[in-house]
């Protein structure tokens, strides 16, 4: 694999922003969508910008993910294609979610230039906001160690922190502090580097090796964590214990990039029933938790979006009662995705599992009718 090795004078962030400025100056793209520091300096927000001086407050790898990048991409392109060229700098899980939304026909990728970057994880949003200085230091350590105790729980077991289906990838792994790698992942990427006079003369072996090494480590850790989590939450008692604090605020659904429905099924009229219905259900069971259908919401949401779940962890950040929702969804998603041999956002050509089928598959879930079932005589019907 060929790429470009760029020398770093001061810090890596600066070099990346210089590169983006160059791209803007030479109109390789007309605008950039990248996280900028907010005025109160305790968070970041995606900003679509034309003015290169705004890049002074930008960060290609911010310590937090307040808004999932795919949601920003969705907001930008949900009503149609962009006529201008926009370069978007996002983390791998955000790129993958954007591609999943494209398969669900919710984003347009024409004239969009996807730039990904190696990601060591993000800090939980509320931790960072309480003490942004401490958070910045914690994140620096996270980048150096490529992971730390400070990140979101699902970031700690993430295996897809690199090598995504973007147009251009910024490699930090396997490059010493004095370098970054620019690796084209598509023809668009190659053309961009060519138009910026950046030649692809370096071998990316060290990046590939380092990424694969870390992926192997993370895979083992993920398996271990999932086994532990499954034993903690399986079965009705333990599972309901985990969700006993849930107040049905639906924050997790609203910040999720994959949940795009304008009116969620679980907020719709289908769930608003006549008072007799609620009273009857309460009489059946002796009581009825209010608001009702908490478990149905979570299981139903799983069945709707788990194929595209990229385990970004934004849901867990938004939960007001600290339910480990991202970890539970990551566990269920991994199992469902493995069953269907599907990796969300990996290949834009691959159709969504529920939009296709094979004639010969899942024979094991069909109940075989082996012999005629004989039954004792029924009483007169």
């Amino acid at each position: 694999m060929k790429g470009a090795k760029i020398l770093v004078d001061n810090n890596r962030e600066e070099v990346i922003l210089e590169f983006l400025k160059k791209g803007l100056d030479r109109t390789c793209f007309d605008a950039i969508l990248i996280p900028l520091k907010v005025p109160s300096e305790d968070s970041f927000a995606y900003v679509l910008l034309k003015n290169p001086s705004l890049l002074d407050r930008a960060s290609a790898l911010p310590p937090v993910m307040p808004v999932q990048g795919a949601k920003a991409l969705y907001s930008l392109t949900k009503q149609g294609k962009f006529k201008q060229k926009v370069a978007i700098v996002m983390r791998p899980c955000e790129i993958r979610a954007g591609i999943e939304l494209y398969k669900l026909k919710q984003t347009e990728l024409e004239n969009i230039f996807l730039i990904s970057i190696d990601c060591p994880g993000v800090l939980p949003l509320s931790d960072y906001i309480k003490d942004p200085e401490k958070g910045t230091d914690a994140f620096k350590e996270t980048v150096v160690q490529w992971g730390s105790e400070f990140t979101r729980p699902v970031c700690k077991i993430c295996t897809r922190f690199s090598m995504v289906a973007s147009d251009l990838h910024i490699g930090l792994l396997g490059a010493e502090d004095r370098n970054i790698f620019l690796i084209p992942r598509s023809e668009k990427g190659e053309n961009l580097l060519e138009s910026l006079d950046i030649s692809l003369e370096n071998d990316m072996e060290s990046w590939v090796t380092k990424v694969k090494e870390l992926q192997e480590e993370r895979k083992k850790k993920r398996e271990q964590e999932h086994k532990g989590l499954k034993s903690k939450i399986e079965g009705p008692d333990k599972f309901l214990e985990t969700f006993s604090k849930c107040i049905n605020c639906h924050n997790c659904m609203r910040v999720c990039p994959i949940c795009y429905c304008r009116e969620c099924y679980f907020d719709s009229d289908a769930m608003k029933l006549y008072p007799e219905n609620y009273l009857m259900r309460a009489k059946n069971k002796g009581g009825l938790r209010f608001p009702p259908d908490t478990l149905l919401f979570h299981l139903g949401r799983m069945s709707h979006m788990v194929f595209s779940c990229v385990s970004c962890g934004t849901c867990e950040d938004a939960c007001p009662v600290s339910i480990p929702i991202a970890q539970v969804f990551a566990l269920v998603a991994d199992n469902a995705q493995e069953l269907f041999h599907y990796v969300p956002g990996e290949n834009i050509e691959e159709p969504h599992p529920l939009a296709t089928y094979k004639e010969e598959e899942f024979r094991d879930i069909e109940m075989p009718y082996v012999e005629t079932y004989t039954k004792k005589e029924m009483k007169d019907g």
């Binding site: 499954k230 939450i233 399986e234 079965g235 009705p236 333990k238 599972f239 309901l240 006993s244 099924y265 259900r281 309460a282 059946n284 069971k285 002796g286 009581g287 009825l288 938790r289 009702p292 259908d293 908490t294 478990l295 149905l296 299981l299 139903g300 799983m302 069945s303 709707h304 788990v306 194929f307 566990l331 269920v332 199992n335 469902a336 069953l339 269907f340 599992p353 529920l354 089928y357 094979k358 004639e359 598959e361 899942f362 879930i365 069909e366 109940m367 009718y369 005629t372 079932y373 039954k375 029924m378 019907g381």
Partner: protein, 141 residues
């Protein structure tokens, strides 16, 4: 039923072959247990995963889904997509230990009356052995 626990079974069937099977069964005067409640949907492909989950949480002890055989679907491929959806639902319930064995999926053709009643009886006895659905008794769902 004699031994106390009478399971509540919901039988989702498609309007074409599934209901056809039920009608053929009635034409041949074949009986199936009273605790099995038929529930007609347009096509098993139109059956949302949420309906299956809702049934299991609101008091059903078991859910069985019957549609046309592969290739026979009135809407060409609804039953293939249904198979995938049910595989997904079972995977979710399996991962969380919430009773994946309480969902059955079996094809029933229009003329297979015996197959329809046998499925209903077999599943009802199977669930009777399994016992009541633990989610049924919970009022903190």
């Amino acid at each position: 039923m004699e031994n106390g626990f009478e399971p509540k079974i919901i039988y989702f069937m498609c309007s074409w072959c599934g209901t056809g099977g039920a009608e053929t069964a009635s034409a041949h005067h074949l009986y199936y247990p009273e605790n099995v409640r038929p529930f007609r949907v347009n096509c098993t492909g139109s059956l949302s995963t949420v309906h299956i989950l809702r049934a299991l949480m609101e008091g059903a002890d078991g859910v069985v889904i019957s549609g046309c055989h592969p290739g026979d679907c009135h809407y060409n491929d609804g039953n293939f997509l249904a198979r995938r959806k049910i595989a997904l639902t079972k995977s979710i319930l399996d991962t969380l230990g919430l009773g994946t064995e309480r969902i059955w999926f079996r094809y029933v053709a229009h003329g297979e009356g015996k197959r329809y009643v046998d499925t209903a009886s077999e599943f009802s006895d199977y669930i009777k052995n399994l016992g009541p659905n633990p989610l049924k008794a919970r009022n903190d769902l």
